[in-house]
Amino acid sequence: MLPVSLVFLSAKKQKSINQKIFAKKNKMILEIILVVVMLVAAISAGTFKNLLNAVIAAGFVSFIAAILFFLLHAPDVAMAEASIGAALTVAIFVIALKKTKRHEDDEKNN
């Protein structure tokens, strides 16, 4: 009876350890995907000619940064980043764009 229970316990333990490793791997894959998407969004924010698209891409960078902060156990910074970077900054930029020009090329023609 005893060895069976021992085997059972150890198998259960092994299973939980496997699950932990699996979860860690999954989290790492998620983080790598997020970082890649963030890099793409950041580069496109710099290269878009339509400034509204660029502002939205910059907001997307902030949003993914907030998710990454949360995954790295920094919820305080994640909250600040999500509310200021992804909401208020984008809104202020959009309001400023509405009052100025929307395309970057317009300046050369004038």
Binding site: D76, M79, L88, I95
Partner: protein, 227 residues
């Protein structure tokens, strides 16, 4: 020739930077202050959120500087955008009933959430800055969605902002009076994990929450008004 010289100089600079970066051990904490905060933070300040105890108690003076920077930015923006004649928001297209009702339904909930975050700043993640920004985003929702909403009462917002800034400074000066240094935690700490604990931290965070919320809302209001 100049290109070759600049390339050589650039290579020398790059090698120097690479050596400097190589000398810094990455991923290893150099200071022991982090472990000190983790060990003694709850005991010394009474706040279970260590980040809050660092931001408001151990480094409270820096936070006062941050609040001042934000205040100066808001003042500068309103000074640039200020016009002598009274400005009105242009009445745009009427938003649909669903949008209008949804905004009116969500706005008090967002305010409540922001208030919760800055009142519970010493217990759960978040604090004055985060709560204030959430409140400002609630006002942004009304600016975008509620066409009937005519604008904030600017004077009331200015008064709230000034009073909350004054509360921060006066609480700090009382610390100078009672305990000998600015922003000392002179109130009783109470039991950790209670709402009324951690001495002056909740008072300061509520003041910061009001201040940041009113300031960012004032910025948005200044920007969206048509000249």
């Amino acid at each position: 020739m100049r290109r070759i010289i600049s390339l050589v100089l650039l290579t020398i600079v790059l090698i120097g930077v690479a050596f400097c970066l190589d000398a810094i051990p990455f991923g290893i904490s150099q200071s022991q202050v982090r472990q000190y905060y983790l060990d003694n933070g709850v005991k010394e300040t009474g706040a279970t959120n260590i980040v809050t105890s660092v931001v408001v108690n151990y480094r409270g003076f820096d936070t006062l500087g941050e609040v001042t920077v934000l205040f100066l930015a808001a003042i500068g923006l309103s000074a640039v955008l200020h016009r002598a004649e009274k400005r009105q928001r242009k009445e745009g297209r009427r938003s649909s009933l669903i949008l209008y009702t949804g905004c009116r339904f969500l706005f008090p909930l967002i305010l409540l959430f922001g208030t919760y975050i800055f009142i519970h700043g010493h217990l759960t993640p978040g604090g004055g800055f985060q709560g204030g920004a959430i409140i400002a985003s609630g006002f942004l929702l009304t600016i975008l969605g509620c066409w009937k909403w005519g604008g904030i009462n600017k004077n009331a917002f200015k008064i709230t902002e000034s009073i909350s800034g004054l509360v921060f400074v006066v609480v700090g000066l009382l610390g100078l009076l009672y305990s000998g240094y600015f922003l000392a935690n002179y109130l009783p700490k109470g039991l950790p994990n209670n709402l009324f604990s951690a001495g002056i931290i909740p008072i300061i965070y509520v003041a910061i929450g009001f201040k940041v919320g009113t300031e960012l809302t004032g910025v948005l209001d200044d920007l969206t008004k048509e000249p």
